[in-house]
C-alpha cells in the first residue's frame, strides 16, 4: 500500500519545525546522540525498578511487562489545547446528560434521533439503573476521550471511554520520569503541570459524595486485585489520593452502608472509585459467581448511601454504535454543534452501509461495537487476503456487531530509535473529571504511540508505547 501523507506533530512537510516544538527542538539539537541513547535505556530501568508494570492476559512468562516509553514528548500548544478542551468539555457534558436521559425519560429516543434497538441490544445497559439518579446527578465521573489528529486543526474523537478509562498513572509517571531525566529541559520549556491530577480526582470524587457523608467523605478505590492488568494504576491512584485500596473481600454491607473491614472494625465508605466492571460489582444483582464485588452494594446504591464512580451502566456510551450517534447526541443535549467531530463511521447494521463496507474491506478499519483494547478488529490495508476473508464471514454473520471507519492518516510524532528520530503514529487520551462543581480537564493526557513503523495500533495490549504529553504554558 502507499503510505498516506501524514501530519507530523513536530515538523511540516518541508521540514520546518512547528511552533509548539521550537523550544524542544532547539534543546534537542544541542544534545549528544549517544547521551540520548543512554537516557533512553535509563528510562526503562527506572520504570522497572519503580514497578510500573502492566499485566498482559494470556502471556504467562511475561506476567509483568513494561509499556514501552519513548523519551520524545508529544507537544501541544497552549492555544491549541484551549480549543480542544472546549470541545472535550462539551462532549463530556453531553455524555452525562445522555446517561441521565437514557435511564429516565429517554427523550432522545422519543424524538427519533436514536433508534431504540441500539441500547436494547447493548450489554452495558442496566435495567437496575432505570429511574435512579446517582448522587449529584453524575454518571461519568472520570472520562477518557481518545483523540486522533489528521491535520493542523483536524482533531477527531475516535472513542469515548466512560466506563473505566485507564492509563492516567502513565500520564503521571511519564512526566515524573521526564523531569528526572531532563531537568534542564523543563527549565527551558514551560509545560503545564499534571502532577496535581490525584488531588483533583480526590476533590472531584469527594464533591460527588452522597448526602449521608460527613464533611470529609471517605473515598476508596476498588480493585479486582494484584493480578489485574491495571493493578499498578489502582494502587498508584489510591496511594496518591490518600484513599484505601480495597478488594471485594474487604467490603460488606453493614447497617445499610458499604463498609470496609479495618483493624478497628467496619468503617463506612462514601465514595467508591471502582475499577471493577459492572458485571462483577454485585453478585446478588449481576454475575452471581463474582468474588470481586460486594453482595448488596446495588441496594445501598439505590438507597443513596454510596457513590459509585463511574455509575453502573455508563458503559453504554463506550459502545461504538452509540459512538456513531455522538454528533446527534451532543447537539440534542447542548443545543450546539459539536466542536470536536467524530471519525466518519459506517454502521454495519444498516444494509446500505454493510454493502459499502463489504465492498471496501481492504480500505477500512472494522471494529466490534462492544470491543476494546484493540482486540477483535480488522485493519483492511495491513491485513492479508486470508484475514480479510475470515473477517468477512464474521461480519456477514452478525453485521449489527460491527462498525467501520476509513483508515485514517493518523498524525505521527517522532520517537527515539537507535538510528535517531523516526515518525510513528500517535493518539491522545485526555482525562476528564466531572462533579456537580464542574468539569476539570488535566492539560495533556496520555499519548499512545505505535512503536512499529507504519502501524496504526497504539493499544498497549498490542505492543503500543506511551509518551509524555505536554501542553505548553503559553
Amino acid at each position: 500500500m502507499s503510505e498516506p501523507a501524514n501530519f507530523d506533530e513536530m515538523s511540516g512537510p518541508d521540514g520546518t519545525i512547528r511552533p509548539a516544538y521550537k523550544g524542544y527542538h532547539d534543546w534537542l539539537s544541542e544534545q549528544d546522540g549517544s547521551w540520548m541513547r543512554r537516557k533512553s535505556f535509563e528510562a526503562e530501568s527506572l520504570f522497572r525498578r519503580t514497578g510500573i508494570t502492566f499485566n498482559v492476559y494470556g502471556q504467562e512468562d511475561a506476567e509483568e511487562r513494561l509499556i514501552p516509553f519513548d523519551i520524545v514528548p508529544r507537544i501541544i500548544g497552549g492555544g491549541e489545547w484551549r480549543r480542544l478542551s472546549r470541545g472535550i468539555e462539551q462532549r463530556v457534558h453531553a455524555l452525562n446528560a445522555f446517561m441521565h436521559d437514557l435511564y429516565h425519560r429517554q427523550e432522545i429516543i422519543r424524538s427519533g434521533r436514536l433508534p431504540e434497538r441500539l441500547f436494547r441490544s447493548n450489554t452495558a445497559w442496566l435495567s437496575q439503573m432505570v429511574g435512579f439518579t446517582p448522587p449529584g446527578g453524575i454518571y461519568n465521573h472520570i472520562v477518557g476521550i481518545d483523540l486522533v489528529r489528521t491535520g493542523t486543526d483536524e482533531f477527531m474523537v475516535l472513542e469515548d471511554n466512560a466506563r473505566t478509562p485507564s492509563g492516567v498513572s502513565y500520564m503521571l509517571e511519564n512526566r515524573e520520569t521526564m523531569m528526572a531525566m531532563f531537568p534542564e529541559l523543563f527549565s527551558r520549556v514551560k509545560v503545564q503541570p499534571v502532577s496535581n491530577y490525584p488531588r483533583r480526582l480526590a476533590t472531584s470524587l469527594a464533591a460527588c459524595a452522597p448526602a449521608c457523608a460527613g464533611e470529609h467523605p471517605t473515598v476508596a478505590v476498588l480493585t479486582p486485585g494484584i493480578y489485574n492488568s491495571a493493578y499498578f494504576e489502582h494502587a498508584f491512584l489510591a496511594d496518591q489520593m490518600g484513599a484505601e485500596l480495597v478488594e471485594g473481600s474487604d467490603l460488606r454491607v453493614v447497617d445499610g452502608r458499604v463498609q470496609m473491614r479495618t483493624t478497628r472494625g467496619f468503617k463506612p465508605i462514601d465514595v467508591l472509585y471502582r475499577r471493577v466492571d459492572d458485571d462483577f460489582l454485585d453478585p446478588l444483582t449481576f454475575n452471581p459467581d463474582s468474588v470481586l464485588g460486594v453482595p448488596g452494594i446495588m441496594d445501598v446504591y439505590r438507597a443513596g448511601k454510596i457513590t459509585i464512580a463511574n455509575a453502573p451502566g455508563t458503559g453504554v456510551a463506550d459502545d461504538k454504535a452509540i459512538y456513531s450517534f455522538m454528533p446527534e447526541i451532543v447537539e440534542f443535549y447542548t443545543g450546539e454543534k459539536p466542536l470536536l467531530p467524530n471519525v466518519e463511521t459506517h454502521r454495519c447494521a444498516d444494509p446500505d452501509s454493510l454493502k459499502y463496507v463489504l465492498d471496501n474491506l481492504e480500505e477500512l478499519v472494522v471494529k466490534e461495537v462492544h470491543g476494546s483494547g484493540g482486540y477483535g478488529m480488522l485493519i483492511g490495508p495491513t491485513s492479508s487476503k486470508k484475514e480479510i476473508r475470515a473477517f468477512r464471514a464474521k461480519l456477514e454473520a452478525k453485521p449489527e456487531n460491527y462498525i467501520a471507519q476509513p483508515t485514517l492518516a493518523l498524525s505521527t510524532c517522532p520517537i527515539f530509535t537507535r538510528k535517531g528520530l523516526a515518525p510513528r503514529h500517535v493518539d491522545l487520551r485526555p482525562f476528564v473529571l466531572m462533579s456537580p462543581k464542574g468539569i476539570d480537564i488535566t492539560p495533556g493526557g496520555l499519548t499512545r504511540v505505535a512503536m512499529k513503523k507504519g502501524s496504526l495500533v497504539v493499544n498497549s495490549s498490542q505492543g503500543g508505547g506511551t509518551k509524555d504529553s505536554w501542553v505548553l504554558d503559553d
Partner: protein
C-alpha cells in the same frame, strides 16, 4: 487500615525475615561442611535441612544430601515452596498487594531485591556461588529493613511490620537453638567435645551472634552460657528476650492507638513471664527442649491472636 492490608504487611515482614534467617543458617552450615570431611559434610547439610523443617519435602525429591542438591533446594528450587527465593517472592507479592501502605523506598528495596535474586537464580545454584547469593539475600533484606526504619511513619502499619518481623525471628531463633541442642548432638557423650563446641559455634553463626558472644564470654563455649545469651540477653537483636521486648512495645503502641487492649496483649504478658526474671538455670531445670517447644507454640498462639484481634482475615 484494612485488616487485609495489616495481614499482608505482617506476612511480608515474616517472609522477609524467614528468607534472611534461612540464608544465615545456610551460610553457617556451609562453613561447617568446609571444616570437616566429605562424609561429615553430608551430615551437616542434613542438619541444615531438618533445622529448616524441610526434611520430608526434601527427601521426596532427592535421596542424598549432597551440597549441590541441598543448596539448590533450599535457595531456589521450584519444588520447595519455602525456598529463599520463593519467600522473597512472597514478600514482594505482599508488598505489591499493600503497595499503597508502603513508602516508595520500601517498595523499591523489595522490588529490586527480588529482581536481583530472580536474575541471579535463573539457573541451578552451584555450591561455588552459594556465598555470593546468600550475602545478596542478607544485603537485600537489610536494605528493606533499613528503608522501613528510615522512611515509614510510626503508625499502625509500622507496628504490624515490626510485629511480623519479631514473631518470625523469635520463632526462627528458638527453632535453631532447639534443633541444634536436641536433635543434632549424636549423644550425650559428645557434650564438651570438639564436635559439640563446633556445633555451638555454628548456632551462634546462624544467628550472627558469634562476635557478640565472644566479646561477652571470652573463650568460653558451653551450652548454658550460649542458651543464656540466645534466650535471655535482651541486648542481642536475635535473642528471644529482645524479640519479645520489641513485640511488647509494638503491641502496646497498637493498643494505645486502638484505645483498648486485646487478647493478644494478655497472651504476650503470659509469654513474657517465661522470659523475664528467669535465669538460665530455671530453664535448664525444666529442660531446654521443653522450654523451647512451649515457647514456639505460645509464639504461634500470639501470632494467631494478633490476626484475630486485628481482623486480618474476617
Amino acid at each position: 487500615m484494612l485488616g487485609r492490608t495489616a495481614n499482608g504487611i505482617f506476612w511480608m515482614y515474616r517472609y522477609l525475615e524467614r528468607a534472611e534467617n534461612t540464608a544465615r543458617l545456610m551460610e553457617a552450615g556451609h562453613r561447617m561442611t568446609l571444616t570437616r570431611g566429605a562424609e561429615a559434610a553430608n551430615e551437616e547439610w542434613r542438619s541444615v535441612v531438618s533445622t529448616l523443617g524441610l526434611k520430608s519435602s526434601y527427601e521426596e525429591h532427592y535421596d542424598d544430601y549432597s551440597g549441590a542438591h541441598v543448596c539448590d533446594f533450599v535457595v531456589r528450587s521450584k519444588n520447595n515452596p519455602l525456598s529463599v527465593l520463593a519467600m522473597f517472592e512472597k514478600a514482594r507479592t505482599n508488598a505489591r498487594a499493600c503497595r499503597s501502605s508502603l513508602t516508595a523506598e520500601v517498595w523499591e528495596a523489595i522490588n529490586e531485591g527480588w529482581m536481583t535474586l530472580t536474575e541471579m537464580l535463573r539457573r541451578p545454584l552451584r555450591e561455588a556461588n552459594l556465598g555470593t547469593v546468600l550475602s545478596v539475600v542478607r544485603r537485600e533484606s537489610t536494605l528493606a529493613r533499613g528503608a522501613t526504619h528510615g522512611s515509614m511513619m510510626r503508625n499502625e502499619i509500622y507496628c504490624f511490620a515490626r510485629a511480623g518481623t519479631f514473631i518470625e525471628r523469635a520463632d526462627n531463633s528458638a527453632r535453631i537453638l532447639d534443633v541444634k541442642y536436641y536433635l543434632l548432638l549424636p549423644s550425650l557423650a559428645h557434650v564438651g567435645t570438639a564436635l559439640d563446641s563446633g556445633q555451638w559455634d555454628n548456632v551462634l553463626r546462624s544467628l550472627s551472634g558469634e562476635r557478640a558472644y565472644r566479646w561477652l564470654n571470652a573463650g568460653r563455649m558451653d551450652a548454658r552460657s550460649i542458651a543464656d545469651f540466645l534466650i535471655l540477653d535482651d541486648r542481642f537483636p536475635r535473642s528471644l528476650a529482645f524479640c519479645y521486648a520489641e513485640l511488647r512495645e509494638n503491641l502496646a503502641i497498637l493498643s494505645r492507638m486502638h484505645g483498648s487492649e486485646t487478647a493478644a496483649n494478655a497472651l504476650l504478658r503470659e509469654a513474657d513471664l517465661r522470659l523475664t526474671g528467669k535465669t538460665v538455670e530455671d530453664i535448664f531445670d525444666r529442660g531446654l527442649h521443653e522450654f523451647l517447644l512451649e515457647f514456639i507454640s505460645s509464639n504461634q498462639a500470639l501470632a494467631q491472636s494478633i490476626a484475630e484481634e486485628y481482623r486480618f482475615n474476617s
